[in-house]
Structures are given as structure tokens and as C-alpha cells.
Symmetry: C2
Subunit: 387 residues, 2 copies
Amino acid sequence: MQNFVFQNRTKIIFGKNTEYQIGAETAQYGKRALLHYGRGSIKKSGLYSRIVDSLKKEGIEVVELGGVVPNPRLSLVREGIELCRKEDIEIILAVGGGSVIDSAKAIAVGAKTDRDIWDYYTRKAEVEDALPVGTALTLPAAGSESSTGSVITNDENNHKSDCGSELLRPVFSILNPELTFTLPPFQTACGATDMLAHVMERYFTQEPDIELSDNMSEGVMRTIIRNAPIALAKPNDYASRAEIMWAGTIAHNDLLGRGRVEEWTSHFIEHELSGQYDVAHGAGLAVVFPAWMQYVYKTYLPRFVRFAIKVWNVDYHPGNPEKTALEGIQCLKNWLKSINMPINLNELGVPDNRYQLMADGAVRYGNIGHFKPLTSKDIVKIFQLME
Amino acid sequence: MQNFVFQNRTKIIFGKNTEYQIGAETAQYGKRALLHYGRGSIKKSGLYSRIVDSLKKEGIEVVELGGVVPNPRLSLVREGIELCRKEDIEIILAVGGGSVIDSAKAIAVGAKTDRDIWDYYTRKAEVEDALPVGTALTLPAAGSESSTGSVITNDENNHKSDCGSELLRPVFSILNPELTFTLPPFQTACGATDMLAHVMERYFTQEPDIELSDNMSEGVMRTIIRNAPIALAKPNDYASRAEIMWAGTIAHNDLLGRGRVEEWTSHFIEHELSGQYDVAHGAGLAVVFPAWMQYVYKTYLPRFVRFAIKVWNVDYHPGNPEKTALEGIQCLKNWLKSINMPINLNELGVPDNRYQLMADGAVRYGNIGHFKPLTSKDIVKIFQLME
């Protein structure tokens, strides 16, 4: 086990009707809030008015900025930063999914600095201050509700990039599984895929002696795998929606990665895909992850054998562990198909071949990969496995 | 899944040589620290001087209070409170095991109030303020390094009682598994038993639909069960010591109890035992927990069947689930025996029968038990099962 530091400040407020607590929680951080959201689904669902009522009851002045889209844009972030300065905003409330939360985090950093916000997403500056962000989550997927990360797309050059800091963990996050009953099946499935990927990015490591986090990670993966199809079949089933929502947070709150070398290659490759083609992040991961596995599994076979046995209940083949490992990868693909995720670039709707461009993009800060170090050439081959 | 709130502020600094970071961490909270410890083992091991050097390097004034004993005493807590006031202490550093940390937490509360500290341990007052506590853990067991709780024994009347508050979570805890290499086997085994009990107190619930925390809890239990015998056989084995140390924190940082009704009956009963006879807490739990299981398992058999299958790998007996459940309890007893824990009152060294006195003590604030509500009469019967 490697040395590590673990701290996560986010207060998780989980369960039915918890959105009514947003006013009281927000009031602890200030009286002027920016309410940040997407394209209006929270108005249709009635969530918007419950949130605003709760805030007004606590005497909080609300300034609004809607319009966040999936793969959230730098241009809207810049608009939010201006608004925060003009309106003396003290806390940003993100009501929505990971895109809204990531956008809010970027605004929170930008509002506290004179530097250009994109510098923080291109390794030119490190976060030293940020406004507090509170969230009410409507789409369990990205784990941004208690993570250090934010991913933004620069709409001038299609460059999708991330920024990370402990200061970006939300101060509170409200998680009511009932708010996810109305999610379209595609979004539910993309969310489940994304959170499974967050566990897998930490699970696939060559680090020995990480039994506790292996055991916990396998438990989280099995929970996602069993519950996503239930939620798809019965959208109003509170039990499975709750398991998925809580799993999405645990998958990405950093607990499962402590003591291990983490991977993140599939995420880097997927960011190139969705930067270029604006595909849904979860759907992109469904295509990238199995191809990455296929390309690297021989590097350290025992890890893939364990994945097959402990996560997918595959029998161990004493004379042929490679068969066990490959069965595990096939189980993952079958599960993705069963929840209607694409598993190749064609199904994902990618119209052309920009492999070299994307591979070069993925290594723009140097070669990637810990499980197996990868060059741009390797990544082109991984794209070919997605065909 | 029940509604819940989860937040844990403690910064965990885990791994080799991490004790050298105590000065820099402490300096964030003040320049005057009370160094609280036990009966001198940290001086023999050299840890004491490494800690003091690190603190001095940061210009921190150190006031000392040693002498904490297992089942830490109220009288020493009172002494510590006086010392904090006299010396204008800004942070308390607990270097040792759970007893030292619990004692430090009590001092931290007492130093910030004019009320008698024992009021906070007898449900007469709630914690509203406390000095920050930092820890360097030497005995993984109690989980106090990131928990809300503190347990103190009033040496005037042998009453052992607890106090809990978010304000009692340490601000940082330093966990170096190497510091546990020299633990006597009995303490290693008591620690493993205590942390297993912390998971079990949360695991045995009648709450349905708690799959994620069940899966994670079972993973943590299996980790403790597999690694404790390894650490006993090879005291200097870093891998198993690290698994145990991290498991001890996870077992009691509240993560595994969220969404569930928690139990804690065996702990309440054990507090009476160690209040009366000053036995080691872990050894007491080894005697109490199986007896409690034996008394309540029929109340909700499926939970004990799952425990047997998922934690102990017992085969499910389709025609006789009770047999499966009882095999699980027997596996626990066998494991406790294998690590040389007592499993009856005689082996624990309890010289006489104060069952009624202890049973009355356990229900002094009302009947206890969620899995099965218990009266004083029930608890006497549970004591009889420990014979």
C-alpha cells in the first residue's frame, strides 16, 4: 500500500425531500447565491421552485445563470465569473448533474482570481482560492458532488480538459434519489457507466497489497451492476435509485483510490472523443474502456483475473487464466449492451476517423498510462479496437 | 435506505514515516499544544522524540500530560482540562491508541466550557465547542482517530460512558502502520476484534435495501478476518499491518452505517463489563458479541444467513437456513479463538457474577437494542450465554 492522504470535506445530505434543506445549508456561507443550472428541466420538474422557495425563506438573494450543456462550455463559465463579480456572489449553487457542477466549480475558481480561468485547466496555474459550491444533484454519474475535479470544454478549440483541487470539493451536496425517477433511460445508463468507470480507473493498478480498497471497490461495482438494470426497468424504484446515487458518490470521492496508483487513461482518451464529437461522456466510456482493457490486459493478467472472478463471478480456469480474464472483459461488454450503451465507435455515432488527432491530444502533457504506459501510437491502436 | 447525513472532516495521513509531518499539521491550528499520551511506551519506541522534534521545528510550545490508562479515567481528564486553561493550549495532540484519543477529546470539550465535563458523558449537556484534536495512532482498534465518539470511565463510580459530536472528530490523524509492529499480540488481537465489532454493530440491522453498505462492510470484515492472523504470525509485515490500520479507521468513520439503523447493543453491554472489571475492551467484545448473536439471531434470520455466506463463506443450506446462520456465528467464535481472544467470561477473567448490576447499568437511559429491543432481564440472559 502506498502512502496517502485522504480528506473529504463535503457534507452529503441524502434522501427523500432533502432539497428543502438547501436554504438552511446555503445560509451558512452567505446571503448572495448564484443559482446555476442546465436547460430548464428543473423548472419543468418543479425542483426549481422548491429550491428558490427554500432559499428565499432564509433571506438569500438569488442571481441566476442557466444554460449549462453536457460537456460544459468555457464561454458560459466566463459569463458566470463576470456575474459573480458584478453581483458580489458568496456561494454558487449547482442544481443539476455533473456538467452543471463542473461549470459551477470553474466559475467558483474564476471569481476569486485575476488570471484567465482556462490557465487552471491547462496546467498553467494552481487553484489557491475558490467560492464555496453547494449542489443539489439530479443525475448520478460524474461524482462531481464530492470530488476535487471539474472538466470544461473550450468551445474555441474543442479542447476538453480538467482541473483538480481540494478547494473544488462542494461544501455540501443534496442527493434525493426521487429526483432521478424522471431521468431518460439513456442518461441513467450513461451515469451508471460513468460511475463504474470511476471505480475501474482506480481498480486497474499493478500496486500489490491493497486488499481493503479492492474489497470495497468490488462491492461498489457489484452494486452498480446489479442496480442499474433494475432502475432502467422500474424508473420509480427508490431502492435501486438510492443505491446508484450513493454508489456514484462513493465511486469518485477518492476513498477507493487511496494507497493505489490510479489509472485514468480511459478518461483521458474519452475526453478527446467527447471534445471532438460532443458525445455523452458515459457512452464514450462504454466504448473506450473495454478497448483499453483489451489492449493492456496481458501486462498484468492477475488483476484482470481477479476482476473477472470477484466482480463478474466468472469461474477461474486453472489451465487458462487468460480465458478467465477475457471472460471478465466480455461480461462488462455484455452488461453495457444490456443497458443499451454503445460498445463501438459506429454505435456511438462517430462519423469519421480522427484517431491521430485525438491520440496526439491525449498525450499533449506527456505519455499517459500507469497500468501500461502508452504513447500516441498505442492510443491509435486502442481507437482501432473500438471499431 | 434511510435518509442520512454524512460528513467526516478528519484528514488521514497514512503510511511510512508520516509522524514527521505532525509539526507542520499542528502549526495550522496554533502554537501551543498539549501532548497527551499513555504510560511511556512512546518514549521507549523513540516515537516521542520524533514527535517533539517535529513540533519544535515548527516553533510549537509543548505542554505534556502522560499517564492515560486503558479505559481512560475521568480524573486525568479533569487534570488535562485544568492544564489547558492554565497554559492557554490551542490544540491537543493524542499520541497513542483509542484510550489516549478518547481522553484527549474529553479534555478538548472540557477546556471550552464552564460546565462539569461529566455532564457531557451523562446526557446532561451537548457539545457546543471543543479544542481541535490531532492524533498519531499507535494501536488500530477503536477508530477514535476519525470518529465522533469518546468513552471515559468515571473512576469514582466505575461508570463507563460515551459522548459523541461532530466536533470531536480529530482535525488530522497520522497513521503509520510501522508503529504497530511492536504491539503485543494480545493488543493486536483486541484491536482486530474491536474494529470487526464496529462493522458488525452497523451490519446487524433489519433495514432493507442497503446493498452498497452491505457490500462494503462485508469487504472490510473479510479484510480484517484475513489479515489479523497474518499480522500476529508476522508482526513486522507491513502489508497486513497497513490493511488492519486502514480497516480500523473505515470501520468507525461512519461511512458504513449511513442509511441503516445501527445497533451498538454489544458495545453498551461491554462498557458495563469493562467498567466493572477493567477488562480490555476488545477482549470484552469477543465474549459479548457472539452471546448477543446467539440471543437475537432468530429475530431476523436472513441477516445472519447473509453474514454466514458473505463474510465466512458458509454454504447455504436450502432446507435449514438456521443451520447456515449458526455456522456463521460459530465461524466468528472459531476465528476469535484462533487469535487467542477469550470467548467466555471465565476466559476473560471475570471473577464473579454481577449480571444484574451490569444489566441495570446497560439500560440506565432506557431499554437498548434495535435488531431486537432488550430489557434488563434479556441482558442478564445474554450474560448467562457468556458462561
